[in-house]
Amino acid sequence: MIEIIYKNLKSTKNKDVAKKPLIYNLNSLYNLSRGNKDFVIRMIQIFINQTNETIIKIEDALQVDNFEEISRLIHKIKPSIEGVGVFHLLNEVKELEKISKMTTDKVAIENLFNTIKEGLLIAIEQLQKNELQ
C-alpha cells in the first residue's frame, strides 16, 4: 500500500516537473562534449552539487549578515549557472553579487536570493528528472 502511494506521489511530482517549461539549456555543454554523454552528466552533477552546497552556505551567511560572503559565494557559481544555460537567472545573480558587496540591505538581498534559489531548485529538479534518470 505504502509503495503504491509512494509511486503515485512520485509520478504526480514527475508530471508536475515535466509540465513546466525547461529553464536550462545544455546546448553548449553538448557541443563541447562532442558526443561524450559521460562528460555532460559529470558537468550536471558538478552543477547540482555546487549549487546545493552554495545555497546552504548563503543561507548560513544570511543568518549572520555576512553579505560580503554572499557576494563571493554567488560569484563562484555564476560560471556553472551559465554553463548549464539557466540564462534567465543571470541578471539576478549579477545583481545579488553587486548589492551584497555594496550594500547591507538585508531585505533586498534576501528577496533576490530567494528568487534565485527558487529558480536554481527548479533547474536542479528538471535536470535530475530529464537528464540523470
Binding site: 553548449s28 563541447l32 556553472s80
Partner: protein, 145 residues
Amino acid sequence: MEAINKLKFFIVDDDIFCTNVYKQYLQNSHFDDVTCFANGSDCLENLNENPDIIFLDYNMDDINGFEVLKKIKRYNPDIYIVMISAQESIDTAVEALKYGAFDYMVKDATVCEKMQKVIERILKIKEEIKRANPSTIQRILSMFL
C-alpha cells in the same frame, strides 16, 4: 601540428566546473597534455613539470591569483600565463599584465573561443622566437648549407 600538440597546459581554478570545461575544450582541440589544479599552491609545487601555458584564475580561495602569477614568473619567466577572471575589471587586467601575464580573459560564454585565440597568438610568438634564435644544431647546419 606535432609541435602544437606537444604544448603542456596547466589549468588553475578552484571551480571544478570551469576546469572541466577548459580541459574538454583543449582536448577537443587535440591538446592532450592538460593538468588541472584546484589551487595555486598545487600549481606552484608542480612547476618542475615545465608547462608552456598556464590558465590561471584570479579569484581563488587559498592564494590570490596575482601571488601565484608572481611566483610562477619568478620560477620561470618564459611560461605564458593567461589570467582568467569572472569579473570584467580594467584594474585587474592592468595589474595582471603588469605582473607579467600574457593576457587577461573574462569568464563568460565565449571564454573557450578566447582561449583558442590566445593559444594561436602564443604559438605565433613561439615560432617567431624560434626563428630569431635558431638552435645550435640549426646554426651549425646553416654553416654548411
